[in-house]
C-alpha cells in the first residue's frame, strides 16, 4: 500500500455501552481508494465501528481521524463520509429525486447543478427513469440503488456500507457485489463495507479486517487472511479448517521438527516455537491429499484413515475422513482429467497428507470454543 496519509485513521478507539465493552483499542489505517471490508460475526463490534466513523456514536476512548482531522465533537453532518444503511433508510415522504438531492440541498449546491448531479447518479445506478417515484413503490434492489445514489452523489471521501446486501435475495446479492466493485472503480472513492458474510468480503475487497469480540483479529488481503490466518478464530471463521494437534520440537532454518497426531513430521513455519510447545497445524480442505496407498520414497507424513462420507458438489468432491487418531477431517478434491482418482467411496481406507508448505502452524490456544 502507498505511504500517503490514510483517509481514515482509527487511533486506539474503544467504545463502551453501559459498562459493556463493544470495541477495545482498535487501531486501523484506511487507505485512499481501497475497498475495505470489516468482517466478523454478529456482536463483534463491526457496525459500531462504522457508526463511530459516521459520527452516530462517539468513542469512549481514542480518536477517529478523517482526512487528517480529529473528528472529536464533529457531528455526522460535519463529516465527509456518507452511509448506505442496512435498511436503506430512504425518506418515504420524498420522491427518488428528492431523496438523492437531499445531501446536495443541505450543502447548498446550486439548483441547476443539483439536477445534473442527481440525474447522473441515478444513471450510474441504472434508475434514470425512476426519479419521480416514491421509495415505497420500488423493489428492494431498486431501493438499494437509490440508497447508494443518495450517498455517492455527495462525492464523499469514504462511503460506508452497513451490510447493504443482506436484505436482498441470493441472485441479486451476487449481482450487486459486481456492481459495487465496478462503482468503486468508476468513482475511485474509498469503500468501507461491513458484513458477516465471508464470501461477500472476499469477493469484493482489497483488504479484509476480521473482527472478534471488539478487537481486530487480523488485517490483510483476502488471500492472506484465508491462507495465513493468525489465530484459531480467524481460521475457523473464514472458511472450513482442518486441525491437527501436535507438539513442537527443534527449529532448523525455517523447518520445525514436530510431532503431529503423534507422528514425526517436518513443518514450515515462520513463527518461533520452543521445544515442547503444543501446536496446531491448520489445513484447508483443498490443501489435503488423499491416496489409497502411500507413494514410495515419500518423506511426507501420511495419516491413515477411513472415508466415512462422500459429498458430490458439482465442481468438487468432498470427503469426510476419520483418521485412526480419531480426528475427523474434510477433504475437497477438484475434478480434473484424471477422473480415476475421484472414485473414492465411503468405507475405503485411505492415507491423508497435504501439499508441502501449505500448512499454517499456530500455537495451541486454550479456552476456545469449538
Amino acid at each position: 500500500m502507498s505511504e500517503e496519509r490514510p483517509v481514515i485513521r482509527l487511533e486506539h478507539v474503544s467504545k463502551t455501552f453501559e459498562g459493556e465493552t463493544v470495541l477495545r483499542d482498535v487501531c486501523l489505517d484506511i487507505h485512499n481508494g481501497e475497498f475495505l471490508t470489516i468482517l466478523g460475526p454478529s456482536g463483534c463490534g463491526k457496525t459500531t465501528l462504522l457508526r463511530l466513523i459516521a459520527g452516530f456514536e462517539s468513542p469512549t476512548d481514542g480518536d477517529v481521524i478523517i482526512d487528517g482531522r480529529s473528528m472529536r465533537d464533529v457531528p455526522p453532518n460535519g463529516r465527509k463520509v456518507n452511509t448506505v444503511f442496512q435498511s436503506y433508510a430512504l425518506f418515504p415522504h420524498m420522491t427518488v429525486f428528492d431523496n438523492v438531492s437531499f445531501g446536495l440541498r443541505m450543502s447548498k449546491v446550486p439548483e441547476a447543478e443539483i439536477k445534473d448531479r442527481v440525474l447522473q447518479a441515478l444513471r450510474m445506478v441504472g434508475l434514470s427513469g425512476q426519479a419521480g417515484r416514491r421509495p415505497g413503490s420500488l423493489s428492494g434492489g431498486q431501493q438499494q440503488r437509490v440508497a447508494i445514489a443518495r450517498a455517492v452523489v455527495n462525492r464523499p471521501l469514504v462511503l460506508l456500507l452497513d451490510e447493504p446486501l443482506s436484505a436482498l435475495d441470493y441472485k441479486l446479492r451476487i449481482q450487486m457485489r459486481t456492481e459495487l466493485k465496478q462503482l468503486r472503480r468508476e468513482m475511485g472513492i474509498t469503500f468501507i463495507f461491513v458484513t458477516h458474510d465471508q464470501e461477500e468480503a472476499f469477493s469484493m475487497s482489497d483488504r479484509v479486517v476480521v473482527m472478534n469480540e471488539g478487537c481486530v483479529a487480523q488485517v490483510g488481503t483476502p488471500v492472506e487472511v484465508y491462507e495465513q490466518p493468525v489465530n484459531m478464530f480467524v481460521a475457523r471463521f473464514v472458511g472450513e479448517t482442518n486441525i491437527f494437534e501436535g507438539v513442537a520440537g527443534q527449529i532448523e532454518g525455517g523447518t520445525l521438527h514436530a510431532l503431529v497426531e503423534g507422528r514425526k513430521c517436518d513443518l514450515s513455519s515462520r513463527r518461533g516455537f520452543k521445544p515442547g510447545d503444543r501446536i496446531r497445524v491448520l489445513l484447508r480442505p483443498e490443501d489435503l491429499l488423499v491416496e489409497r496407498e502411500v507413494p514410495e520414497d515419500d518423506e511426507k507424513l501420511w495419516l491413515p484413515g477411513l472415508i466415512t462420507e462422500t459429498v458430490y458438489k458439482g465442481s468438487t468432491w468432498d470427503m469426510i475422513v476419520r483418521l485412526d487418531s480419531g480426528n475427523e477431517v474434510l477433504v475437497t478434491e477438484f475434478f480434473d482429467e484424471d477422473a480415476e482418482k475421484m472414485n473414492f467411496q465411503a468405507g475405503e481406507r485411505v492415507f491423508v497428507s497435504w501439499f508441502d508448505g501449505w500448512e499454517v502452524v499456530l500455537p495451541h490456544e486454550d479456552d476456545e470454543p469449538v
Binding site: A54, F56, A89, F91, H93, M106, S139
Partner: protein
Amino acid sequence: MRTTNLFKRLSIGGAALWLTIFAVLPFVLIAGTSFLTRDEGTFVSLRFSLQGYAGIADPVFVEVLRQSLYLASGATLLCLVVGYPFAYTLARWRGRGKAVLLLLVIIPFWTNSLLRTYALVFLLKGKGLVSAVLVWFGIVDQPVSLLYTELAVFIGLVYTLLPFMILPLYASLEKLDNSLLEAARDLGANRLQTFMRVTVPLTMPGIIAGSMMVFLPALGMFYIPDLLGGGKHVIAGNFIKDQFLTARDWPVGSAASVVLTLLMACLLLAYHASSRRVHRHGAQGFDGGKA
C-alpha cells in the same frame, strides 16, 4: 369460520345500532328542529321556517363563532407546543419508566373533567396555589387571581385536552424509524433541518390527528369558559347551551349545532384526505421486483 362471521356481525352491528340510536338519531332530530318555528309553550311548533338560521346570522353568533375558533385554535397550538416535545421525549425514551410516564398522561381520564376544572378554580384563584407559588418565587409582589381571565380559559382547555394531543403524537413518533433521522444527519442536515424535513413531515398524521382531537372538543367545552373565564368568554358550546336552557330558543340552538357539526365534518374530511395522502406516500413496503 361461521362463528367468527357471527361475532363480526354482532360486534359491528351492535356498534352501528348504538351509533344510530345515540348519535345519528339525535342529530337528525336537531337538524329537523333547526327548520321549525319557536313556540313559547311547547318550545317548537311543527311549522317549517328558517328563523333558526336567521337567528344565527346575527353578529352575536358570528362573534361567538370567531371567539370559539380563536380559543380552540389557541388551545390546539398550545397543546401541540407542549405535547410534541413531551411525546418526542417519551417515544425516544430508552431507560425505564416509559410505561409510568405514559400512565401519567392517561391518569387524568380517571377523574371527571368537570371535577378537575373545579380543582383548577381553586388553584387559580387569588388565594390559590398558583398565586402563592408566584409570590413565593418573587415573580409577583401581591397575590394575583388568574381566575376569570383568558389565560385561565387556555390553561383549562390545554389541561383537559393535552392527553388527546400527546397520545396520537406519541403513536406516530414511536413508529418513526431512527435510521431515517441518522440518514438525514449523515447527508449533512443539522438537528433543526432533520426535524423540519424528516421528523415533522413523517409525524404529520399524528400532528393532524392530535390537533383534531383537541380542536373539535374545544369548540364545545362550554363549562371551561363558564367556570374559569367567568362567562366573559363565550364559545359555541356556551351559545348552544344558552339557547336551549336560558333563551329557550330551540331552533336557533339547533341551527348553531348544525353549523358547528358541519364545520367539524369539514375538518374531519380534510384530515381524512391529508392522512390518506401521507399514508400513500409513506408506504414503505417492498413490492418485490415490480419494476
